[in-house]
């Protein structure tokens, strides 16, 4: 886990105590106190936010890269399937990979150019493995696809399903990091009536500021998207939660809402507390409701979307443009000019680093995401995907290498900070002992992997890694079980089939035997062997035919009416044969000789 720790106690150098008793946590100044009643979730941490480094410079559009690398799987669910072949010309915004399955999203070309390769390339994944990607060599013209759908201005004139389909076709996924296809979330089903739409502008993780900048620069676009989302969900009210360390974003958003006169929409300032941007935590803060374990927010009538997703939805509906770019924060002591960039999906990470002034000497490792939940990017040629929100070029002090873990002293700090109200210690024991069943009993799958427990652990135990390991093992076991069940069924089906074939064979044999046993009984007396009888009958028929022909004066063509020459040759041949082998069959052989002579 990439956790900034200073030597020693590692936390207090920022002046933020972490052993927070109840009541010490909410520290927002009285002037900012929101009118709406807010709630607090269990635990959480005050972390140094480190956002000012990247918010100081204005947002710029990243330069068009020479090559765009577009992974086919940028979302949760099934990978998309390519629609183009190597050598094809593609336009900006053209769909180049179609969704496959119920939970999937299409991929669009982020710029115009030529498809040069479809194959495995390193993707931004914690494993550092390669995955199928479409590589486009850009032509620099940045030409939009002429076939883009028409902008929709009047939402009410259209069937909501058509709008959802438009959002689906635009390849929009949750831009907060999970990359779950948005259109699926917009179909909560008839059993769940959605009363509240929550827009997540909390952006609680340190260093990341892309949502903050998006809200500052494009507040009206975000709000337009929010109103579309609200319309589609049929929610009565909409709450936009923004942490109080983003005052400029709050101001911009409040202004934008006033412009729109959205009486159903409320910008709510929430206290800065990691991880208030977690879906379940934000719902708790804004509404006081708890999402039950193992359930999704739709079960309690709430749907949560990120501000970036809302902006992408606005583009898709109001301009007909698919999701081809996003804001990405490039920050950390490892880059010369930390900033936010508007980046085309598929741009290699190294190009963004270049536009942020390049690496400095302080660079220790490149982290994708924030310091709490991000992972080390093993190859900086990996592209920015829809889920990429931050590239943190961290120095050694920002992301020190993990210190050796010592034994757990059962201090209980981890339980105090866990925002999901779990018992991290118990989970740790069970995960370590590979007792997955027990870990699941302790709600392993409610862990949001926020990293709070690892951060406070005085024994430096990489707790989150244990949970990730246990989760992965559980999934693998589930997969294996399913596969085994399928193999068992197929084996059974095969056994049954073989038994059936065997039985059929036996039945056939028996039928034949029975038939044979019956036949001799019917024709008894004529002959013992039916074969012999058949031969005799055939010989008899042949003899009769011969006799008939002879009596009519017809000799067979090859022995009767011979010329003198032919007869002489036959005689000669017979004589030769007699010399060679006495007792042959002169007549039959003679025919052959004759035919050869002819």
């Amino acid at each position: 886990m990439a956790v900034p720790r200073s030597p020693g106690d590692g936390i207090d150098r920022y002046g933020n105590g972490i052993r927070l008793g109840p009541g010490k946590i909410m520290h927002y100044p009285p002037t900012d106190r929101p009118q709406r009643r807010l709630y607090r979730f269990h635990g959480g941490l005050h972390l140094p936010d480190n956002k000012s480094q990247s918010t100081a410079r204005p947002v710029e559009s990243a330069a068009l890269p020479k090559r765009l690398i577009l992974p086919l799987q940028q979302h949760i669910g099934e990978a998309a399937q390519p629609l183009v072949a190597v050598g094809d010309q593609v336009h900006k915004g053209q769909m180049i990979a179609a969704p496959h399955g119920a939970v999937s999203a299409p991929i669009h070309a982020s710029s115009s150019g030529r498809v040069v390769e479809i194959g495995d390339f390193p993707i931004p994944h914690v494993s550092g493995l390669a995955a199928p990607c479409i590589v486009i060599e850009t032509d620099g013209r940045d030409q939009w696809d002429p076939g883009l759908p028409e902008p929709i201005i009047d939402l009410t004139a259209l069937d909501p399903e058509e709008l959802r389909q438009r959002i689906h076709n635009a390849g929009i996924v949750g831009l907060g990091g999970a990359a779950f296809p948005t259109s699926v979330k917009l179909r909560p089903g008839p059993r769940h009536r959605i009363h509240t739409l929550i827009i997540n502008g909390a952006e609680c993780e340190p260093y990341i500021s892309c949502d903050d900048m998006l809200m500052q620069k494009q507040a009206s676009r975000v709000i337009a998207g929010v109103s579309i989302l609200r319309h589609l969900l049929g929610a009565e009210k909409c709450l936009v939660g923004i942490e109080d360390n983003k005052s400029r974003a709050i101001a911009a958003m409040t202004r934008a809402v006033a412009d729109y006169e959205q009486h159903r929409m409320q910008i709510v300032t929430i206290p800065t507390l990691y991880p208030s941007g977690g879906e379940k935590q934000l719902i708790r803060v804004l509404t006081g409701e708890e999402v039950p374990s193992g359930a999704i927010p739709a079960h309690i009538g709430i749907v949560c979307h990120n501000v970036g997703t809302a902006a992408a939805v606005a583009d898709a509906i109001l301009e007909g443009k698919p999701l081809i770019s996003r804001y990405v924060t490039v920050t950390g002591e490892g880059v010369a000019e930390p900033r936010n960039l508007e980046v085309l999906i598929g741009t290699p990470a190294c190009e963004l680093i270049g536009q942020a002034g390049g690496y400095t000497k302080a660079i220790s490792r490149l982290i994708l995401g924030g310091p709490m939940m991000g992972f080390t990017l093993q190859d900086d040629r990996a592209p920015v995907t829809k889920a990429t929100n931050c590239l943190l070029a961290a120095s050694v002090t920002e992301a020190p290498p993990a210190a050796p873990a010592t034994a757990c002293i059962r201090c209980g700090d981890c339980a105090a900070v866990c925002p999901a109200s779990l018992l991290p210690q118990q989970l740790y024991w069970y995960s370590r002992a590979k007792d997955l069943e027990k870990a699941q009993e302790y709600h392993l799958f409610d862990c949001i992997e926020c990293g709070c427990c690892s951060y406070v652990c005085p024994a430096q135990i990489p707790l989150v890694q244990y949970y990730r390991y246990a989760k992965n093992e559980s999934w693998a076991q589930e997969r294996d079980k399913k596969k085994a069940e399928r193999a068992r069924q197929r084996h059974q089906a095969r056994e049954q089939r073989l038994a059936r074939i065997e039985a059929e064979k036996k039945a056939r044999l028996k039928k034949k035997k029975d038939a044979l046993a019956k036949k001799p009984a019917a024709g008894k007396g004529s002959a013992e062997d039916p074969k012999k009888a058949a031969i005799e009958a055939a010989m008899k028929r042949a003899a009769e035919k011969k006799a008939k022909l002879a009596s009519a004066g017809n000799l067979p063509g090859n022995t009767g009416n011979l010329t003198a020459d032919q007869q002489r040759k036959i005689n000669q041949a017979d004589a030769r044969r007699k010399e060679a082998s006495p007792g042959g069959n002169p007549e039959g052989e003679g025919q052959t000789t004759e035919s050869q002579d002819r």
């Binding site: 886990m1 990439a2 799987q73 993707i123 994944h125 914690v126 494993s127 493995l129 995955a131 490892g334 680093i353 390049g358 690496y359 400095t360 660079i363 220790s364 490792r365 490149l366 992972f375 080390t376 990017l377 093993q378 900086d380 070029a393 992301a399 290498p401 993990a402 210190a403 050796p404 873990a405 370590r432 590979k434 430096q460 990489p462 890694q465 244990y466 990730r468 390991y469 989760k471 992965n472 093992e473 693998a476 294996d480 596969k483 085994a484 069940e485 399928r486 193999a487 068992r488 197929r490 084996h491 089906a493 095969r494």
Partner: protein
């Protein structure tokens, strides 16, 4: 005295009838223990245990004829699960079986296949597709990696290929196994 004898005999008869009735009424088809054991086995049907498939081995375990440590594809995990289920002591696996093999699928080199159908007959899960004198191919998704198709092939065109690791199937390693130096090992840039 007589009353006691009559009462007890009557009770014995009544309970006897009740037991006899319930034995017929609540009769369970098959062997539930064998079913449970079968559910834990990996269903590769490879026969490495010496039985003709997972089900016969499960039945042998249920009747106590076979030990629980005979399943190499299941490895230690399966053995421990079986020990838990049956209340037996865990047994070490054979040295050969103990080393975990990477999962693999059979692949037929189609250029070399002569279409003899011998592998099709050997496959316990019908994962090989083909017909006489037509080339065969393995349905990779259905292959259990049991290797039973390899010995019958007369032209040795079947190979076991380890399953390629993909980001989707990649698993976080246990922090224990790799020591404290986590996956976040620093990579040099710039």
């Amino acid at each position: 005295m007589l009353i006691a004898v009559i009462t007890l005999s009557f009770l014995a008869l009544a309970f006897g009838l009740l037991l006899g009735y319930s034995a017929i009424r609540f009769h369970v088809e098959g062997d539930p223990v064998a079913d449970k054991v079968d559910a834990l086995l990996p269903q590769t049907q490879c026969g490495q245990c010496g039985f003709a498939g997972c089900r016969p081995y499960a039945e042998a375990i249920a009747t106590g004829e076979a030990q629980i440590n005979l399943c190499p594809p299941g490895g230690e995990t399966t053995m421990i699960a079986l020990a838990d289920l049956l209340g037996k002591d865990p047994l070490p696996l054979d040295a050969e079986a103990a080393e975990e093999k990477a999962k693999a699928v059979a692949v037929i080199v189609e250029q070399e296949c002569i279409g003899c159908t011998l592998c099709i007959q050997a496959c316990p899960v019908d994962a090989i597709l083909g017909a006489a004198k037509q080339m065969h191919t393995v349905i990779a998704n259905e292959c259990t990696g049991c290797e039973l198709c390899i010995p019958p092939c007369p032209v040795e065109c079947i190979h076991m290929l380890p399953i390629k690791e993909e980001p989707g199937s990649w698993k976080w390693p246990s922090p224990d196994r790799q020591g404290t130096e986590s996956i976040d090992t620093a990579t040099a840039f710039g």
